[in-house]
C-alpha cells in the first residue's frame, strides 16, 4: 500500500517512544499509600502477681500459678502487696523498681468479687503504673509531633519535647576542656578514665537505640562571649541567665565537628575561668545560684563552670598545676546527657516512689520509655519520607528510578510494615530494629543523587531537538497520506457513481 508510511507508523513511532522513555523501576505505590494513613497500635505486656493476703481463697483458686519468663520479652511485672504491708512506707502507694518491677499496695478487695472484677477495679492504678514505666499518651504524641499537632500544649511539655535531640542512627559526643588562661592554670583531666567509668556504661546500655562515638579535646585561649560582672554579695563574678545564650557562640567555631561522620554532635564543655575572673557563678532566672554551676542548651549540649581559685594561694608559682575532680564533673554531664538523649525526667503521679537509676545511670524502664518513643518517631519519620518521595516520583515523570532506589524503597516499606506489626504484638526490641532499618533505607532512597539526572530536561528542549530532525521528513509522508486518503475517497465516490 504505502510501505514508507507503514514502516513509519507501525515500527518507527513505537521504537522512538520506547527508546526515549526514562527508566522507571516499579515501586509499591499502593503499599505506600497505605502507610500514609499511619495507624499505630501499641501494646505492652503486664503481669500482675498477687502476693499472699491480697485475695480471698476462692479468688486465689482462679489465678493461674505459672510465671511468665520475664527475660524473653519486655514484661512489666507488678507485685500486689496487702494493704497493711510494711514493704511500702506510709502514704506511698506504688514503688517502681529499677528493673521493670513495681510494687502496688492493694486497695480494698471485696470477697464477693470475681477475679475479673478485682482486675477491673485495679485498672486505673495499673494504667498509671504502665504509663510511667512504658509510655503514655503525651509522650507518644510528642514523638509524633512532626505529623500530629499537639492538642494540649503546656509550656513544660513543649520544652520537654524540644529538648531531646532528634532520632538518628548514631551520635557523636564531644567533651571539651576550655582553658582561657594557660599562663596561670596548667589543667589536667583524666578524661579517658572518667569516660570509661561514668559515661560508657550508659552508652553501652543505650546501644540498641543508636551508635555512640565519644571523643575529647582541650581548647586553649578559648573565651566565653560574655563578660561576667563582679558581684559583691558572693565576692565573685556572675553570669546571668539572660546572657547565657551568647556564651556559646564564639566557642562553637572552635569546637569543630567530626569530619569523619555526618551524625549529630552533642558538645559538653568544661570551662575553667581565668585567674582574673575567678570564681564564676551562674545565676538562673530567679537570680539564685545554680548549685551545679552548669547549664545546657537543648539539642546542642551543656556547659559547666569549674572554679579552681580555692585550690591555690596567691603566692603559688604560675602556671599552677591543677587536677580536675572528674567525679563531680561527670555527674553533671551525665545528668545533662540523659536529658539530651530524651530520658525524660518524669514527674510521677502522687504517691509514687521511683528507685534511683543505678550504676549505669539508666533504669530499665527508662530505657523502655526511650525505645517506645524512638520507635514511634522513627516510624513516623520514615513513613513521611517514603510517602513524600512516592508523591514526588509520581508527579514528575522525568525522574529516573533506578533499580537500587526501588530496592531501597521496597525494603523501607517492608521494614515499616514489620515495625508496625511488632509494635502491635508488643515486641519492643524488634520493632525498634525494624524502625531503624526503615529509616536508613528511606533516607538512602530519598537522598540518592541519581534521582536528579534527567530532572531539568524541559519539554521545550525535546521539541527543539525533534522538530528539525523529523519535520522535514514527516512533511512528504503526511502529504502522501492525505493524498492516499483523498484517492480512496475519490474511488469510493466513483464506485458509488458507477453503481448508480
Amino acid at each position: 500500500m504505502a510501505p514508507v508510511q507503514l514502516v513509519v507508523i507501525v515500527v518507527g513511532i513505537p521504537l522512538w517512544w520506547k527508546t526515549t522513555e526514562t527508566y522507571r523501576a516499579w515501586l509499591p505505590f499502593s503499599d505506600i499509600n497505605q502507610l500514609d494513613i499511619l495507624q499505630l497500635q501499641l501494646s505492652v505486656d503486664v503481669e500482675v502477681v498477687f502476693s499472699r493476703g491480697t485475695l480471698t481463697t476462692e479468688q486465689q483458686k482462679k489465678v493461674p500459678h505459672n510465671l511468665v519468663n520475664v527475660k524473653e520479652h519486655h514484661v512489666d511485672v507488678i507485685y500486689v502487696v496487702p494493704e497493711s504491708s510494711l514493704l511500702l512506707p506510709e502514704g506511698v502507694k506504688v514503688y517502681i523498681g529499677r528493673r521493670r518491677t513495681a510494687l502496688l499496695r492493694s486497695s480494698l478487695v471485696k470477697s464477693s468479687w470475681t477475679l475479673n472484677e478485682v482486675l477491673s477495679n485495679m485498672n486505673p492504678e495499673v494504667e498509671q503504673i504502665v504509663g510511667t514505666m512504658s509510655f503514655n499518651h503525651q509522650e507518644i504524641v510528642a514523638a509524633l509531633s512532626d505529623r500530629v499537632r499537639m492538642t494540649k500544649v503546656t509550656k513544660e511539655s513543649m520544652a520537654d519535647s524540644m529538648r531531646a535531640i532528634k532520632s538518628s542512627p548514631g551520635y557523636e559526643i564531644t567533651f571539651s576542656l576550655l582553658n582561657p588562661d594557660p599562663k596561670s592554670h596548667n589543667l589536667h583531666w583524666d578524661i579517658e578514665g572518667a569516660l570509661q567509668s561514668y559515661i560508657q556504661p550508659l552508652l553501652n546500655k543505650l546501644a540498641p537505640i543508636a551508635n555512640f562515638s565519644v571523643d575529647s579535646q582541650i581548647l586553649y585561649y578559648a573565651v566565653l562571649g560574655v563578660n561576667p560582672r563582679f558581684d559583691d554579695g558572693v565576692s565573685g563574678y556572675t553570669l546571668s541567665a539572660d546572657s547565657l545564650s551568647h556564651v556559646i557562640n564564639p566557642v562553637e567555631a572552635r569546637l569543630g565537628s567530626n569530619a569523619a561522620s555526618s551524625n549529630p554532635v552533642l558538645n559538653f564543655l568544661l570551662y575553667v575561668p581565668d585567674a582574673h575572673h575567678s570564681p564564676l557563678f551562674i545565676r538562673d532566672h530567679s537570680r539564685r545560684e545554680v548549685p551545679s554551676n552548669a547549664f545546657h542548651s537543648p539539642r546542642w549540649g551543656g556547659i559547666m563552670v569549674y572554679n579552681v581559685n580555692a585550690m591555690y594561694g596567691p603566692e603559688a608559682e604560675r602556671p599552677v598545676a591543677i587536677n580536675i575532680n572528674m567525679a563531680k564533673v561527670m555527674g553533671v554531664f551525665l545528668a545533662q546527657l540523659r536529658l539530651m538523649l530524651g530520658v525524660q525526667s518524669t514527674r510521677p503521679p502522687v504517691g509514687f516512689v521511683l528507685d534511683s537509676p543505678g550504676s549505669a545511670g539508666l533504669a530499665d524502664w527508662e530505657l523502655d520509655r526511650l525505645m517506645w518513643s524512638r520507635t514511634v518517631e522513627n516510624i513516623a519519620t520514615a513513613s513521611t519520607t517514603i510517602t513524600s518521595l512516592a508523591q514526588l516520583l509520581d508527579q514528575i515523570g522525568n525522574i529516573v528510578i533506578n533499580d537500587n532506589i526501588a530496592e531501597q524503597v521496597s525494603s523501607a516499606v517492608t521494614s515499616l510494615q514489620a515495625a508496625v506489626a511488632q509494635l502491635k504484638a508488643g515486641n519492643l526490641v524488634f520493632a525498634l530494629q525494624y524502625s531503624r532499618e526503615a529509616i536508613l533505607a528511606s533516607e538512602k532512597a530519598f537522598f540518592d543523587p541519581s534521582l536528579l539526572h534527567l530532572l531539568y530536561f524541559p519539554d521545550d528542549q525535546k521539541f527543539a531537538i525533534y522538530i528539525p530532525l523529523f519535520l522535514p521528513m514527516c512533511v512528504p509522508i503526511v502529504l502522501s497520506l492525505f493524498k492516499i486518503m483523498s484517492e480512496m475517497k475519490q474511488r469510493q465516490v466513483d464506485k458509488q457513481a458507477k453503481s448508480d
Binding site: T174, P182, K183, N186, H188, I191, E192, V214, D215, S216, Q217, I218, Y220, G256, S257, N258, A259, A260, M311, Y312, A316, E317, P319, V320, A321, I322, N323
Partner: protein, 439 residues
C-alpha cells in the same frame, strides 16, 4: 612609624608527617630547616681562638623530645605524680633580612605527638595540643602525609633566594595515602571536600581534572629523604612512631624607610608589638635573627646549614626570663648599612671580631631555579617554554620535571623538544598520564 607594606609572598603552610623512627639519627643537620646542632661544628675553617669561642658561646642544644612535665608540685594538694603528656609544642621565629632590603619572617610551630593514627582497633579519641579536626581527618582517610599551602603573591626567587618551604601561588595540596587505601580517587575527593570545609577554602574545586598522581617525582618527605624534613627520634635508640604537625607562616615585609640606604627594622615596626613572654604551652620558644648587629645582643649563637650554605643566627630563648631584660619585653632591632659598605664592613668586622665568613648577596641566588614563558599565539604557533637554570659553578644535576597541563590547553606531545646549551637533548625518562577530561 614608617609605612609598611606587606610585600608579595605570604605563605601559610601546614605540614603533617608521619615520621618513622627507624631512621639513622646521625642526620641531625638539615639542609632546609633551622636546627641547633648537638655537636660543635667541625667542618668550618676554624682558627684556634674560634674553637675556644665556640665552647663558650654555642648553646648545647637540648633536643628535648621527652615529656612536657608540669612544674610546681607543691601546689598540688594530695595529687599523684605530675601527669606525663605525650605531645609537645615548639615554636620558633626566624628573621632574615633579604638582600633586596625586605625582611623575611618565618614562623614555625611544631607539634609532636607520640601516637599512631593508623593503627587498627584503637581509635584515637583524646586530643590535647594536636587539633582534633585534623586528627580525625587523618585517621578517617588513612593519610600518611599531608601538605597544604595557601600562598598570596609570588616569591621572587632571583632576588630573595630560596624560601624555607617553596610553594606556588594559590592553594596546593599534596597527600600520601596509606598503602591500605584501595579507592584512592574516592578518598581524594572526600578529603578535598572535608579540608575545604575546615579551612574555608575552595579546595573542593580540586577535582580529578586538575589533580595529578606523580609516579616518579615527589617522594614523601617523611620517609628517608633526608633533604627536607628531619626524622624525629623519640630517644637515642629511635624506637616507635610519632606524628609531627608543622605549621609555618612566611611573610615578607617591604619596609621603605625615608632614610636613604639606611634600612632599619625592628619587631615593633613590623608587628606593632614586642614579645613579652613565651607561649605557656610550648616546650621551647625561640627567635632566630640572622647575625648582623642585632640589638639587644645575645650570647647565644647557632649555626645551621640552609640549602647548602652555612648561616649563623642569634638565638633568643624566650623561655628564659633574662632574654626579656629589665623592661620585660623583647624588641629585636637591626641597623643595616648600605649594600656595598656592608660587604666590606662585614667581612672586615666579622672576620676580625668573630672570625666568621659572611657570604655575599650572590650566595642567596638559588642553585636551581626555573622560569616559564609563552611565545606565539594560537594552536599552531603558540609555544610554552620552560627554562631551568643551574647556577652551580661546576656541578651538574639530574632534573626531574613534573608538569601538570590543564585539559583546556591542548598541547602536542610530539612537538616537545629539550635543548641544553643549544644542543638537542633527549630526556632519559618520559612518562605521560592522562586524567579525565571533563565530567
Amino acid at each position: 612609624m614608617a609605612a609598611h607594606r606587606y610585600s608579595l609572598s605570604f605563605l601559610f603552610v601546614f605540614i603533617f608527617s608521619n615520621v618513622p623512627l627507624h631512621c639513622s639519627c646521625d642526620t641531625l643537620e638539615q639542609a632546609d630547616s633551622i636546627v641547633e646542632t648537638q655537636r660543635a661544628p667541625q667542618s668550618n675553617k676554624a682558627t684556634a681562638n674560634r674553637a675556644e669561642f665556640n665552647e663558650r658561646q654555642w648553646q648545647a642544644s637540648d633536643t628535648e623530645l621527652d615529656k612536657d612535665e608540669t612544674t610546681d608540685s607543691q601546689s598540688l594538694r594530695g595529687a599523684a605524680a605530675p601527669p606525663v603528656f605525650k605531645d609537645q609544642l615548639q615554636e620558633e621565629l626566624v628573621i632574615r633580612p633579604l638582600p633586596s632590603g625586605d625582611i623575611y619572617a618565618s614562623f614555625q610551630f611544631r607539634t609532636l605527638w607520640d601516637v599512631d593514627f593508623l593503627q587498627d582497633g584503637h581509635k584515637v579519641s583524646h586530643y590535647r595540643l594536636f587539633p582534633k579536626s585534623l586528627g580525625q581527618v587523618l585517621s578517617k582517610f588513612s593519610v600518611r602525609e599531608l601538605h597544604i599551602s595557601f600562598t598570596q603573591g609570588f616569591w621572587r626567587t632571583m632576588q630573595w633566594g630560596q624560601p624555607f618551604i617553596p610553594s606556588p601561588p594559590g592553594a596546593e595540596l599534596w597527600v600520601w595515602f596509606h598503602h591500605t587505601v584501595t579507592d584512592v580517587d574516592g578518598n581524594w575527593r572526600e578529603l578535598t571536600n572535608v579540608l575545604s570545609g575546615i579551612f574555608c577554602a575552595s579546595l573542593n574545586f580540586i577535582d580529578l581534572t586538575n589533580t595529578v598522581q606523580p609516579s616518579a617525582s615527589f617522594k614523601p618527605l617523611g620517609l628517608g629523604n633526608a633533604v627536607h624534613i628531619r626524622p624525629v627520634c623519640k630517644d637515642d635508640q629511635c624506637t616507635g612512631k610519632a606524628w609531627e604537625l608543622r605549621q609555618t607562616l612566611n611573610v615578607v615585609f617591604d619596609l621603605y624607610t625615608s632614610g636613604q640606604g639606611k634600612k632599619e627594622w625592628s619587631l615593633f615596626k613590623m608587628f606593632s608589638r614586642t614579645l613579652t613572654e613565651a607561649c605557656p604551652l610550648a616546650s621551647s620558644s625561640k627567635v632566630y635573627g640572622e647575625l648582623f648587629e642585632l640589638s639587644p645582643s645575645t650570647p647565644l649563637l647557632s649555626q645551621a646549614v640552609v640549602l647548602g650554605d652555612r648561616r649563623t643566627y642569634s638565638v633568643y630563648d624566650l623561655s628564659r626570663s633574662e632574654t626579656f631584660g629589665q623592661l620585660r619585653s623583647l624588641n629585636l632591632l637591626l641597623r643595616w648599612k648600605a649594600d656595598s659598605g656592608m660587604k666590606i664592613y662585614s667581612i672586615a668586622v666579622y672576620l676580625l671580631m668573630y672570625g666568621l665568613c659572611y657570604f655575599l648577596a650572590d650566595m642567596l641566588r638559588p642553585l636551581l631555579h626555573a622560569e616559564r614563558y609563552v611565545s606565539g599565539f594560537g594552536l599552531q604557533i603558540g609555544e610554552i617554554h620552560t627554562v631551568i637554570y643551574n647556577n652551580h659553578p661546576y656541578r651538574a644535576f639530574p632534573v626531574l620535571l613534573m608538569d601538570s597541563v590543564p585539559w583546556y590547553l591542548q598541547i602536542y606531545i610530539h612537538t616537545l623538544t629539550v635543548t641544553s646549551k643549544n644542543r638537542e637533548n633527549k630526556p632519559s625518562e618520559f612518562s605521560l598520564q592522562f586524567m579525565i577530561v571533563h565530567e
